[in-house]
C-alpha cells in the first residue's frame, strides 16, 4: 500500500469516511482557483476537518508520511494559493461557526472557515461590525483566507487591513506533533482573547499574510466596532484626468475628514469607460468621461456629523473646479442615484467580481499591491511603460489595467487593485504565467507591497530579489521552526526545501523605463 493510501485510511479514521476523499472527480472539482494561468492541479487527498483537533491529527499523519499539505478557505484565491498538485488539500469551510460575540468587550471568536458574509450578517443586525468586511469575494471568502492574505476590502480606508482587526489566532503548526497554539493575549491561558499585544512577542503576526505557510489557522479572535448607523455615498469625477491630483485629493480627504470616510475608492478613467461599455441600460447620450471617479462612503454615529463631513468633502472635491459631482446613472441608467445610496454587501462583494472577467472566458491575473499615495502618478506611468515595452509578451487580446480601482488605506498608502486578463486555455496558461511573474517583479522592484501572495506572487517577489539575504534567511529559519519537514504550502515563496537559498530563483529583467527616468 502506498503512503498516500495509508494516510488516507488514517485520516478517514480521524474525520470519518464521509469527510475525506481521493476520488478523481473530487480532485478535479478542487483543481482551480480564480486565475487563468495555473494548470489544473489535483491533490491526492481532500479532507474537510470539523475541529482543530482533527486538523492537528491530519498534520501528524502528513508528517508521518512526509506528505505536503495546503490549507484552503473559500477557494477564491486569486493567485494560486489554495490548490495543490499532489498532497493533502485541507478544506476548512466545515469549521464555520461563530463561537462568541462579546458585545461588552467588542471582540468575537470564530472558526476560520466562516465566510465574511456570514459573519457580517450576524454582527450588523446586532449593531456591531468588523469594520473591514473582507475581500471582494467576501460572500465565499473565509476569515482564515482574509488573515492569510492580509486582505484589504470594503471598510479598509477607515479600519485598515484584515490583520489590523485580528487580536490573535488559534493555529495548528505543521510540525510532527501538530501543535495547537493560541496567540495574542489568549497565549495567557487564563485570559480571554480581548487584545493582541502583551503577554509575549506578537506571534500573531507570524501567521498574518503567511498565505498558509506557517500554520493552519482554525480560530480567529477579531476586534469588533460599533457599526455607525448613518451612512452615505457620494461620487465625484475629475474634470481633468491627473493622477497627481488623485494623490492630492486623497491626502486632503485623509487630513481633513479622516475617519468620517469609511471608503475612498478611485476608479481610473479607463475603467469608468469600460463600465460605461458594460452598462445594463445605456443612456441615449453619454457624458464626457473626463477623468477618474471618486467613490466615497461616509459613516457617522450622528446624522449631523455625517452632514458636516459630506459638506466638507463637497468643498474639497469641487474647489477650483477640480471635480464635479458624478452619478453612475450618467453611464448606466440601471445604477441608483447617490441620494438613494444604501450600504449593501452586494456592493462590497460583487464590485470586484465584475472585473475578474470583463470579457467572457477570460480571468484576471491579479497584481494587487500597495504603494504610498504620493507614488500614484509614478505608479500609473511606470505600469503603462511596462505594458508598452512588453506588449507582445502578454497573452492574446489581453487587457492590462494598472488599477481597476485605487483603494485608499488608513495611513497614506493605497492599493492598486489591478492586473491583466487572459483566456483560460492550456495554450495561454504559460504565456499568462510568465507575464504575471514578470509584471509582479517589476512592481516589487518599484517598491510595491503585494498582499495576495499565493504561489505566483510570493514566488515573483523572491524572483525580484526583493528580500535582503538576511530577511530571506530569517524567514526560512522561522518556517523551519514551525515546519521542520517543509510540508505546509512548500511552493510558496519558492521555499521548496530548506537547503536552497532564495536568491537562486532571482530573475534578471530587461529595463522598461527610458534612460534618465529617475523613478
Amino acid at each position: 500500500m502506498t503512503d498516500i493510501k495509508q494516510a488516507l485510511g488514517e485520516i478517514e479514521a480521524v474525520v470519518g469516511p464521509e469527510y475525506v476523499t481521493d476520488k478523481d472527480f473530487m480532485k478535479a472539482a478542487y483543481s482551480r482557483n480564480v486565475d487563468p494561468a495555473f494548470p489544473d492541479r489535483w491533490a491526492d487527498i481532500i479532507v474537510r476537518p470539523g475541529t482543530t483537533e482533527e486538523v492537528s491529527a491530519i498534520v501528524r499523519i502528513a508528517n508521518k508520511y512526509k506528505i505536503i499539505m495546503v490549507p484552503r478557505g473559500g477557494g477564491a484565491d486569486l493567485v494560486g494559493g489554495s490548490a495543490t498538485k499532489g498532497g493533502i488539500l485541507i478544506d476548512l469551510t466545515r469549521m464555520n461557526h461563530i463561537l462568541e460575540v462579546n458585545k461588552d468587550d467588542f471582540y468575537c471568536i470564530v472558526e476560520c472557515g466562516i465566510t465574511w458574509g456570514a459573519l457580517v450578517s450576524d454582527l450588523h443586525p446586532k449593531g456591531l461590525t468588523t469594520g473591514v468586511l473582507g475581500p471582494g469575494s467576501g460572500y465565499s471568502a473565509t476569515i482564515g483566507g482574509g488573515l492569510s492574505n492580509s486582505t484589504a476590502g470594503y471598510g479598509s480606508t477607515k479600519y485598515g487591513l484584515v490583520p489590523d482587526i485580528c487580536l490573535g489566532v488559534e493555529v495548528v503548526l505543521p510540525d510532527p506533533e501538530g501543535t495547537i497554539l493560541r496567540t495574542g493575549v489568549a497565549a495567557n491561558k487564563y485570559a480571554k482573547p480581548f487584545a493582541r499585544y502583551g503577554v509575549a512577542p506578537d506571534f500573531t503576526g507570524l501567521f498574518m499574510g503567511d498565505v498558509g505557510t506557517m500554520g493552519i489557522k482554525t480560530k480567529a479572535f477579531l476586534r469588533l466596532a460599533p457599526n455607525p448607523p448613518y451612512k452615505a455615498g457620494r461620487y465625484y469625477i475629475l474634470n481633468k484626468n491627473d493622477y497627481g491630483k488623485v494623490f492630492e485629493l486623497i491626502k486632503e480627504l485623509r487630513s481633513k475628514v479622516g475617519d468620517g470616510l469609511s471608503d475612498v475608492i478611485v476608479v481610473p478613467q479607463p475603467v469608468v469607460q469600460i463600465q460605461a461599455g458594460m452598462a445594463k441600460a445605456k443612456p441615449p447620450k453619454r457624458p464626457r468621461l473626463t477623468g477618474s471617479v471618486f467613490l466615497l462612503a461616509f459613516e457617522a454615529f450622528d446624522e449631523r456629523i455625517l452632514e458636516i463631513n459630506i459638506k466638507q468633502v463637497e468643498e474639497i472635491m469641487t474647489r477650483d473646479g477640480v471635480c464635479r459631482p458624478f452619478e453612475f446613472q450618467e453611464i448606466d441608467l440601471a445604477e441608483p442615484l447617490t441620494k438613494d445610496w444604501r450600504f449593501t454587501l452586494e456592493y462590497a462583494y460583487h464590485y470586484f467580481n465584475r472585473f475578474i472577467s470583463i470579457v467572457p472566458d477570460t480571468i484576471s491575473c491579479t497584481t494587487c499591491h500597495k504603494i504610498p499615495i504620493s507614488f500614484i502618478k509614478d505608479g500609473e506611468r511606470m505600469s503603462h511603460a511596462f505594458d508598452a515595452k512588453f506588449r507582445t509578451e502578454f497573452p492574446d487580446k489581453s487587457l492590462s489595467l494598472f488599477a481597476t480601482v485605487i483603494y485608499a488605506l488608513p495611513n497614506g498608502n493605497c492599493v492598486f487593485v489591478g492586473g491583466f486578463n487572459s483566456f483560460n486555455t492550456e495554450a495561454q496558461q504559460p504565456v499568462a504565467m510568465k507575464m504575471w511573474h514578470k509584471k509582479v517583479r517589476a512592481q516589487a522592484r518599484y517598491g510595491g507591497a503585494h498582499y495576495w501572495l499565493g504561489e505566483s506572487i510570493s514566488q515573483s517577489i523572491v524572483e525580484a530579489g526583493a528580500y535582503t539575504p538576511e530577511f530571506a534567511a530569517f524567514f526560512k529559519n522561522m518556517k523551519k521552526v514551525v515546519d521542520p519537514n517543509c510540508l505546509l504550502s512548500p511552493n510558496k515563496f519558492h521555499v521548496h526545501n530548506y537547503d536552497e537559498i532564495m536568491s537562486k530563483y532571482e530573475e534578471k529583467d530587461e529595463p522598461y523605463l527610458e534612460a534618465g527616468d529617475k523613478s
Binding site: A29, G75, A76, D91, R94, S121, Y139, L345, S357, D361
Partner: protein, 396 residues
C-alpha cells in the same frame, strides 16, 4: 477540448468556461439583500459538502470533462444527482450563469453514458410506458374527479377556454389529490370554462428533464405539444409548480408559434378574482408561505400567491423567501433517489416555518407539499401543510 464528445454540454459550450470559481454559489449569506439571503446551497448544507455538492464544483467538473481531464462515472453521478436543481446558485452568480442548465446537461451526459441513477431509470421508463412516473395506470388520473359533485368537460371532446393540467402528483397521489379537487372546485365556483384530460393527460416530463433523460423528455414534450395543438387549447393552467416550469420554459421549442399561454393556477385565479371583484373570506389562520423553486426562482411567481393569501389569512414570512427561499429538497429527482437527503432538506424548511410561529405552511406545488408533509411527520412538528387552493376553496 473534446468537441463533439459531449452533445448536451456542447449545446451550452459558449459559456462553459465562464465560471471564475469565486464560490458565491456555496453560501453567500447577505443580510442586506432584499429579501435577505441566509445561505445558498441546501444540498451542501445536508451532505458532506465537498465542492461537487454545490455549483462551483459542478461547473469545475464540467470544465474538466470538457477539457478531457476527467471521465464520466457512477461515482460522479451519485454526487451530481444529489442536487434538487433549485437554482439558488444561479441567482447569486455575479456573471448570471444559469447553472441549472449545465447540471441538467451533465446529467444527460451521465445518463447517456450509462451512469444514470437506477431509481430514476425506473421512473422514466414508467413515464414512457404508462405516461406517468408513478408506475400507475394512467386511467387513475380520472379518479379524483369522482370526488366532485359536478362534471368537468373533457378536453378534445367539448370546447373549453382553459385546459386544467392537474399533473401526475396531484392526480395520482392520494395525499395531495385534494389539490386537483380544490382547484376544480375553485374554477367551478368562479365560472371558469375549463376542461381536463383525465386519463389522457401525459406527464409533462419534468422528471425526465431534471434527471437527465433527455430523449424521454423530448419524446414526452413532443407528444404533449401535439396533443395540446390537437385539442386546440390556448390557455393551460396548472396547479403544479413542476409542470408550470416545464410547460412554460422547457416546452418553448415544441410550443413555439402555437400561441398557447401557460399559467399557474394562482396567477390565473388572482387575476380573475380581482377582475370579478370577489371578496375572500378571512379564514382566521396564521400561515407562512413556501416558494416552490420551479414557480418562484425559475419563473418569478412571487406576488400572486402572497396577494391571495394575505386576503384569507395572516402571513408571517420565513427567514428565506422569494429568490432566497430555501428549497423543499424534493426536486431534481432527489426525493426518488435520495429520499433521506430530501427529508433532511425538507426538515430544514419546516424548521424555518416553525420559527415564524405560524400554524400552517402553505405552498402551490403538490410535490413540495408531499416532501414537506413527510418532513413534518419525520420531525414530529405541529405544523400543518396546505395547498393554497385548499384555503381558496374555503374562502370563496
Amino acid at each position: 477540448m473534446i468537441e463533439g464528445k459531449y452533445k448536451h454540454l456542447g449545446e451550452l459550450k459558449k459559456n462553459i468556461l465562464q465560471c471564475i470559481s469565486c464560490g458565491d454559489c456555496r453560501e453567500a449569506t447577505d443580510y442586506t439583500m432584499i429579501p435577505p439571503k441566509w445561505g445558498v446551497c441546501v444540498a451542501r448544507e445536508h451532505t458532506p459538502g465537498f465542492e461537487p455538492f454545490f455549483g462551483r464544483g459542478k461547473l469545475q467538473i464540467i470544465r474538466s470533462l470538457w477539457q478531457g481531464r476527467l471521465e464520466l462515472s457512477k461515482d460522479l453521478a451519485d454526487v451530481i444527482f444529489q442536487c434538487p436543481t433549485c437554482g439558488a446558485c444561479a441567482k447569486i452568480c455575479a456573471y448570471g450563469i444559469n447553472s441549472v442548465e449545465y447540471y441538467e446537461a451533465l446529467r444527460a451526459e451521465l445518463v447517456e453514458a450509462g451512469c444514470g441513477i437506477e431509481s430514476h431509470q425506473a421512473m422514466n421508463h414508467s413515464l414512457l410506458a404508462k405516461l406517468n412516473p408513478y408506475d400507475q395506470d394512467n386511467a387513475r388520473k380520472n379518479e379524483w374527479m369522482n370526488k366532485l359533485d359536478f362534471k368537468i368537460k373533457r378536453a378534445g371532446e367539448q370546447p373549453a377556454e382553459v385546459l386544467y393540467f392537474a399533473g401526475c402528483t396531484a392526480a395520482l397521489s392520494p395525499e395531495v389529490q385534494v389539490v386537483a379537487i380544490k382547484t376544480a372546485r375553485a374554477f367551478h365556483k368562479l365560472g371558469v370554462d375549463f376542461a381536463v384530460l383525465g386519463g389522457q393527460e401525459i406527464c409533462c416530463g419534468s422528471v425526465a428533464k431534471r434527471t437527465g433523460e433527455a430523449r424521454v423528455f423530448q419524446a414526452t414534450a413532443e407528444k404533449n405539444a401535439a396533443l395540446f395543438k390537437k385539442i386546440g387549447i390556448k390557455t393551460i393552467v396548472t396547479s403544479c409548480a413542476g409542470c408550470y416550469r416545464t410547460l412554460k420554459i422547457d416546452y418553448k421549442n415544441v410550443l413555439e408559434g402555437s400561441g398557447i399561454e401557460v399559467l399557474h393556477t394562482v396567477e390565473f385565479l388572482e387575476k380573475l378574482i380581482n377582475i370579478k371583484g370577489i371578496q375572500l373570506k378571512n379564514l382566521g389562520l396564521h400561515v407562512t408561505y413556501h416558494d416552490p423553486c420551479h414557480a418562484g426562482r425559475h419563473i418569478g411567481l412571487y406576488e400572486p400567491p402572497r396577494a391571495l393569501l394575505s386576503r384569507m389569512a395572516r402571513i408571517t414570512e420565513m427567514k428565506t423567501i422569494k429568490d432566497s427561499a430555501k428549497c423543499c429538497g424534493a426536486g431534481g429527482g432527489v426525493k426518488k433517489a435520495f429520499p433521506k437527503l430530501a427529508l433532511e432538506i425538507g426538515k430544514g424548511r419546516i424548521q424555518e416555518a416553525e420559527e415564524t410561529g405560524a400554524d400552517y405552511i402553505v405552498t402551490i406545488c403538490p410535490f413540495c407539499e408531499r416532501n414537506l408533509a413527510d418532513a413534518i411527520k419525520e420531525k414530529g412538528s405541529a405544523m400543518k401543510i396546505k395547498d393554497l387552493l385548499e384555503l381558496l376553496d374555503e374562502a370563496l
